[in-house]
Subunit: 245 residues, 2 copies
Amino acid sequence: MRNIKIVIEYDGTDYHGWQCQADIPTVQKTIEDAIHQITKEKVKITGSGRTDSGVHAMGQVANFLTETHMDPETLKKALNSTLPRDISIIKTQEVPNYFHAQFNSLSKVYEYRIFNKPYPPALQRNKVWHVSEKLDSEKMKKSAAYLEGTHDFSVFATADITVKSTVRTVKQVSIRKTREGLILIEIEANGFLKRMVRMITGTLVETGKGKLAPEEFGQILAKGQKTKNVFTAPPQGLFLKKVLY
Amino acid sequence: MRNIKIVIEYDGTDYHGWQCQADIPTVQKTIEDAIHQITKEKVKITGSGRTDSGVHAMGQVANFLTETHMDPETLKKALNSTLPRDISIIKTQEVPNYFHAQFNSLSKVYEYRIFNKPYPPALQRNKVWHVSEKLDSEKMKKSAAYLEGTHDFSVFATADITVKSTVRTVKQVSIRKTREGLILIEIEANGFLKRMVRMITGTLVETGKGKLAPEEFGQILAKGQKTKNVFTAPPQGLFLKKVLY
C-alpha cells in the first residue's frame, strides 16, 4: 500500500462542508468518487480537519492509502481532469505510511475576508462577509492581540463540541486592510475548535464597530464565560489557507 | 426629467453580456427591470459600451432619464436590494442632462487576469484564464510596450466590426505578476474595438510562451495584417475596471 498526501483548493459554496454525509455533496465524498473513477478502488481519504458548509480552502490537506502504481504527478492530472471545476488538486506526493493528515498537523492557518464597503460585493459575493458599517481596523488589531498565546478558547466555540481540551495556542494573528476595501484576518494556531475563527471574527467586528472595547474583548477570552457579545461570522468569508506539518 | 449616472459592478458569468437581447438575461435588462420595479417607469439605460458574455465589471457606467424624485442615495439602496446578488450599484449620482455614458467617456480601463499555475483555479475558475504553461512576463511586457500610442488596431478586432475608424490611442499598458500566480494586464485607451483586449491578451500570451518574439508582436500591429499568430483569450478573465469622463 502507498500513502498519498494531497493538497486541495476548493470553493465550498456548493458543498455541505468537507466531511462525508449520506447522500449530500461534500468535498471529501467528491474526491473519493474521483479516485474511485481513476483507480477503481474504494478509498477513504483523511482530511486535516472538517470545514463547515460554505467554507473554502486554498490548502486543505488529506491522505489516503492506495494500491495504484500511478506516479503522483499523473495521479494529480487525472484527478484534476475528473473532479468538478470547484475542486482542484494543487499537489500530490507519496509520503511514509505513518503520515496522517489530521494527527500529524502542527498548525493551521485560516483567513477570514470581510468586504467593508457600503455597497454589496457582486464579484466576491460568495467569498466575503459584507459588513457595510465602517470598521475601525486599528481597534480590531488591538483586540486580536489578546488572542495570541495559550488560552481556553471555549467561549469562541459551539456548545456541542466533544473535544477533550478546549485549550489552544494561537501562534499568530494579523489584520490587514487592502486598497480594495477588504479586511483580512489571518490566524495561525496549533488547532481550532468548531466555529472558532467565525466566532472570533464575529466578535472582532463588534470591536471594529465600536460596540465592544478591545479590553472587553480581552475580558471575554480571559473570563471564558458565554456572553451576548459573542457573534458568529457567516461561513462564506472563511478560507483554510494552509496546514503545516 | 432627471439624468442619473450609475456605476455598476457585475459578475458576468450568468449573463449574455451587457446589451439587451430578446428573452435572454443581460446585465442591462436586469437593471432596467429593477428600476421598473422601484419607480414603475420603463426606462432605457445607456451603458458606456457593451461587454461580451461572461465578461465582468468593477466600474461599468450607465445613465438613464427618470421622473422619480427619489434621492440618489435612496435609489442606490433600493436598487441594491432589488437586484440579484451578482449585480451591485456602487454609486448613483444626478448629472446634467447632456451627460451621455457612451459619448462622453474619455477613456476606459480594462484588466485581464491570467492564472499561471499548473493546477486549475478552483476558487477563481470564472474570473481568470488558466494558462498552465509558464509564461515569461518580461517578454509580455516588452511586447505590450508596442501597444502604447495611436495605432490602427483592426488586427486585434473581430472582422464583423462596423465602426467608422479602427484607430485608437492606448494611453497606458501595464503587466504585473502577483505572488498568487496571477498575471494582470491593465490597458487604458480612449476606446476599444470589439474583442480588442481579448485578442491583445491572447497574442501577448503567445509571446509569454516564447512562440512569438516581442518584435514580431510589434510587427503584427505595425503591418496590420491578419495572421495566424493572433489568438483570442476567453471572456471570463476580462474586467471593465473603470470609465473616465
